[in-house]
Amino acid sequence: MGIAVQCRDLRKTYQGKVEAVRGLNLEIQTGECFGLLGPNGAGKTTTIEILEGLLEPTSGQVSILGHSWSQNPREMREWLGISLQETRLSEKLSVRETVDLFASFYREPRSTDEVLEEMQLTEKADAWVGKLSGGQRQRLAVATALVCNPKILFLDEPTTGLDPQSRRQLWDIIREFQRNGGTVLLTTHYMDEAERLCDRLAIVDHGQIIAEGSPADLIERLGGHHVVEFAVSSNGNGRADPALWRALPGVESVLEADGMMALSVKEPHLTIPALLDAVEKQGSQLEHLSTRQASLEDVFVRLTGRHLREE
């Protein structure tokens, strides 16, 4: 296994003021599905467009399969299939004409019919792009990327705005591409997408990677295994000090959100009895108690103190 995509100390500053990317390092192995996860405005799109050679970084090095954009960009573009965030393809061309057009830019593209079949667009082959639904358009955008028979697929928020069924369809397509030996880099702000699809991912916030690893690894390292959420009614004693909860056995971190306390916990069977005791001692009443498996969302909240979908 070689390195498909690598970047070192990537920085991008717009108009000398806005620092979109601030010293980002990445290493993606061939055959891997790698995800950049982060809220809107975290610098994901800027990063992926620099890697695609569409934006010039302010500083830092990029290498795609061992080549840099300054050496042989035309040859490198033969290897990459790209789907940008929100490209509006020509509405007056048919699906087949659009895919044929993109195929014509590459030396050895795949057969248009084969790609359309794979993307379940065969029925729509002669329909104008303007008549397609959101999910079909997104599949067409990926089809224009796949028709070039790429080694690496770059997908910028491929499923944003899609209904659950269309999202699942796209996930299947991405998995299939990966099964055939392709490398995938995608950006997303959906945790479930990152969790299910990516072998490894990097959580990006304010232009920097704040955590990196496999989804399971990240959850274990940073989210705790379990989350215990509860709410208590305070009987005139005022609010309980978070430090009180932090001191309970097995608790790794405490967060308060929307009137609920959330404890990251390694072993809930130790923590919960202690929690019940503590509540009773305080003279409060438990109003809510639930436990669940930790998710990437918890990792993100733990790292940034914010939820992913918050602006």
Binding site: T87, L89, S90, A103
Partner: protein, 371 residues
């Protein structure tokens, strides 16, 4: 149109080892040009503005300004002493057919003149002379005054000092429609060149389609070339339609060779393609490029002799007007079509267009914003 080698499209997903499809050097260019033509064909607005609108304009103006023999001039004589005598003098003059004389009271005559009902009012005065009321700014009024004066003087016994004779001429080639059609051709090539290239580019930039294209190995030069070539194809149709209209409906005579006219049209189309490219090289929004386009085209609509000769502008600005690309194109088309001026004699105009086109294209390449 298959620059790319298309393989038979049998459904063999079970057999993934189908032979690879290979693209030649010009596959991208061919597909880009083809896609552009398809888009144009499927856009009803384009068909209207590029093809139908100029035809309607030419037909409308051609009919409005069609040649007709000058009709009888309506003339009023103010009633009173001497009115009868003036009227009978006019009726007995050799030119009596060119007047329609009415005797009216003073107020009615003046009102009719003011409203354009009469071209001239004749007021006999006490001394047995006549006063002409006419408007020097209205050509028909000026004409009526001099015609009437001639007729009256001759009828009253004035002798011509110089013997004159007249030959009438109403040849195709000297009429307004003959002047108009080459001008419309030029203007149409400018409009569709600027909009066809500039508008399309900014639209694609706004849609991030340019950025998507740049993410492929597409040759950027091929893309711009395809855009310009699509103009050439349209140009041939535009010129053809307008010339056919002129010849069939207005019996216009085309003296220059079709080759020369097409070549001039090509140079013009490419020139304005270049100017359109430059105008659209940075703009991010349709709104901003629309303003820029109008700013660029406005002076040429006015000064470049589309609807009337630019000789009417002061001599000081003539060199500036002649340096405009549309002036060069209009002059070249006009002299070629109407006078049959050979291509070799058009070189100063070709040079003007060539310079505009090449310089614009080079600057556009330098400043072009793909993303």
């Amino acid at each position: 149109m298959s620059v790319a080698e298309q393989l038979p499209t049998a459904k063999t997903s079970a057999n993934p080892s189908r032979p690879p499809r290979r693209n030649g050097r010009w596959a991208g260019y061919g597909h880009l040009l083809w896609a552009r033509m398809l888009e144009l064909k499927r856009e009803p607005e384009v068909v209207f503005w590029v093809f139908v609108f100029p035809l309607l304009l030419a037909a409308g103006l051609g009919i409005a300004f069609r040649e007709k023999p000058a009709g009888a001039s309506p003339v009023a004589i103010v009633a009173g002493a001497g009115a009868q005598q003036t009227e009978s003098l006019l009726q007995n003059s050799p030119q009596h057919a060119s007047f329609k004389v009415e005797v009216q009271d003073d107020a009615a005559a003046r009102k009719g003149f003011r409203l354009g009902k009469y071209d001239l009012v004749i007021e006999p005065n006490a001394a047995g002379g006549l006063t002409y009321l006419y408007d020097p700014a209205r050509p028909e009024s000026v004409l009526a005054r001099s015609e009437v004066n001639d007729a009256l003087q001759a009828a009253a016994g004035r002798e011509n000092v110089i013997a004159t004779s007249e030959v009438t001429s109403s040849e195709p080639g000297s009429r307004y429609i003959d002047f108009l059609i080459p001008g419309l051709l030029g203007m149409n090539l400018m409009n569709s060149g600027m909009w066809g290239v500039g508008f399309a580019l900014v639209d694609m930039r706004q849609r991030k389609l340019l950025k998507r294209f740049v993410g492929t190995p597409m040759r950027r030069g091929d893309f711009l070339l395809a855009l310009m070539s699509s103009r050439l194809v349209l140009m041939v149709i535009e010129i053809g339609l307008l010339l056919v209209l002129g010849v069939v409906f207005f019996h216009m005579r085309v003296l220059g060779s079709l080759f020369t006219i097409t070549l001039l049209g090509s140079v013009g189309a490419l020139c304005f393609g270049g100017v359109g490219l430059l105008t659209a090289s940075r703009a991010q929004k349709i709104e901003s490029v629309s303003g820029l386009m109008n700013l660029v085209m406005m002076p040429m609509w006015i000064f470049s002799g589309v609807f009337f000769s630019y000789e009417r502008f002061p001599a000081v600005v003539q060199p500036l007007i002649k340096a405009l690309p549309l002036t060069a194109l209009n002059d070249a088309l006009r002299t070629s079509i109407l006078e049959g001026t050979p291509l070799l004699h058009q070189w100063p105009r070709l040079l003007v267009m060539g310079l505009w086109g090449v310089i614009s294209f080079l600057l556009a390449l330098r400043w072009f914003r793909w993303t």
